[in-house]
Amino acid sequence: MSERVLEVAGLRAKYGTHEVLQGVELHIARGEWFCLLGPNGVGKSTLLNCVTGRMRADAGEIRVGSYSMIAQPVDAKRLLGVACAPEQLPGLLTGRQCLEVYAAAKNLRSIDAELLEVAAQLGFMRFIDKCTDTYSLGTRQKLTVLLALIGDPALIVLDEAFNGLDPASAVTLKRLLRERLSQARCGVLLATHSLDIVEHYADTAALMLDGRVARQWTQAEIAELRKAGGEGIEAALAAASAR
């Protein structure tokens, strides 16, 4: 068993009196691509907010690497790479400034050349010195992904990060993540509705329903569903959701 980069145990969170997360349990190993599935409003984004330290959990534990997000949030965040929502980018900063500020926030001395290569592959370099409020949705999405890759994080957290990306950029990004995973440089937690990604890239997939992980598929089970063809994964998801 390889090293765990994320461990969530008994996680509970609520907005006011509405309990959104009701005891979530999951873990991600280094080299694992973990897809989080589920209908709208079941708590996927809330779970990601808790994992990334945006939101304080009411109970339970979140460990990123060996650090607790609740007790040692700064150390835990050093291991994280998070793609924020495109609308959260600061409109009056250029893409380059965003990358540099984020690298400074992570206490990095420099930004590695690999990140600039990725930016070039994604076709981002011609926008890098423009203010982000002039970007299209796809270009903003590319910047959020680049921010998530800064500092070679142990856990990359993406929330619908492929929305708005053109097909070429989406494939480039998927391949890049797959390459990093095969080198065991990180784990990936992706909340998505795209079953294509689950079918072709995920190592593990989990279905969230009513604030809990209702069903989880391992790599072998996903492979079985893929072999079955037709509506394999869609049908399995629908059956699990209907229970």
């Binding site: 945006r54 980018l89 009056l92 400034q97 540099e100 500020v101 926030a105 203010c131």
Partner: protein, 339 residues
Amino acid sequence: MQSFPSSIPSWLLRQPALLPRWLACLERWRRLGRSKTAAIAGIGMVASIAAVVAVAHWSSGAWLSALDEYWLLVLIVAGIHSVTSVSRSRRHAMAAWSESWLATAPLSAAAVGVNRAIDCFALLFLQYLVACLLLAIVAIAGGEFGMVLRPFAALTAGVLVGSAVGWWLPEAKHREQREASRYAVHAAAGNTAVLQPSDSGLSHWPVARAMSMGRPENSRLLFVCVALFAVQSGTSAVRGLAILLVWTMASYLVSLLSAGVTVAKEAAHWLRSTPVSFVGFAWPLARRALLHQAIGIVVIAAAVFASEAAWLAAVNLVLLWMGLVAAVYAFALSTSYRA
């Protein structure tokens, strides 16, 4: 670091929580410099200062004696304003930080705290400086420096104490912030499974916007001000309450007028792709707001009339206000519709 302007101090480069704020200010300033707004704002500011100096020169004696006499009122108003301003800013800052692009970065609690303190105190500090500047102008114009000491001390004490209380207040309420807005219009009990085409939502929109802008729960603090005002000036409680009523109602009507303009733009943007006619667009948006305006201004006129003003003055007030409201709404709705 290659792309940061050379004007940025080196210590700021080591503060990633503050740096984006500074860079955004520079960019905003740069964009402002390219527009005519900066020149207009500059001319307006110079004109305002000149007007204040001129008025202070002519009537500084009356101002100074009023300020000296009402020092307690200055203290209370400054305190209440500071409490509401800082607590509101802190609630907004806490909510905004959890949505910020830097919220997931490994920043220390101290760095985040400094950032939040700037969010909470910057506007109030600016207002305090402006108030001190006005006091100084009045004192210089009147040549009576001794008479501004008491109001200045009251202002400073009010701001300091109010800021401390305002900073402490929102901690307990923070977790409730993501719940649905209390200003939203709630559906009446009934068969919620049935949906019918209706423009009722549009007619509620300006009122809901005005309520959220005006924060009616803060109006209750006005009672304290008016009570103190009545005690200090020796006016009757009835007149104090009439002033309170006029003030509260007027602030709501002005908010509603402003909300009408904002909502006209938002609704036009939202409904642009529909075949809605001008009447179908304008009337639902205006009708409830106009009704509220009419009732509100009649109540104000009645209060003014009860305060021994001539009935003709009260009627004039109603006509003038409703004329202004009709003109503003008509202009906003006609320019927004398919603009």
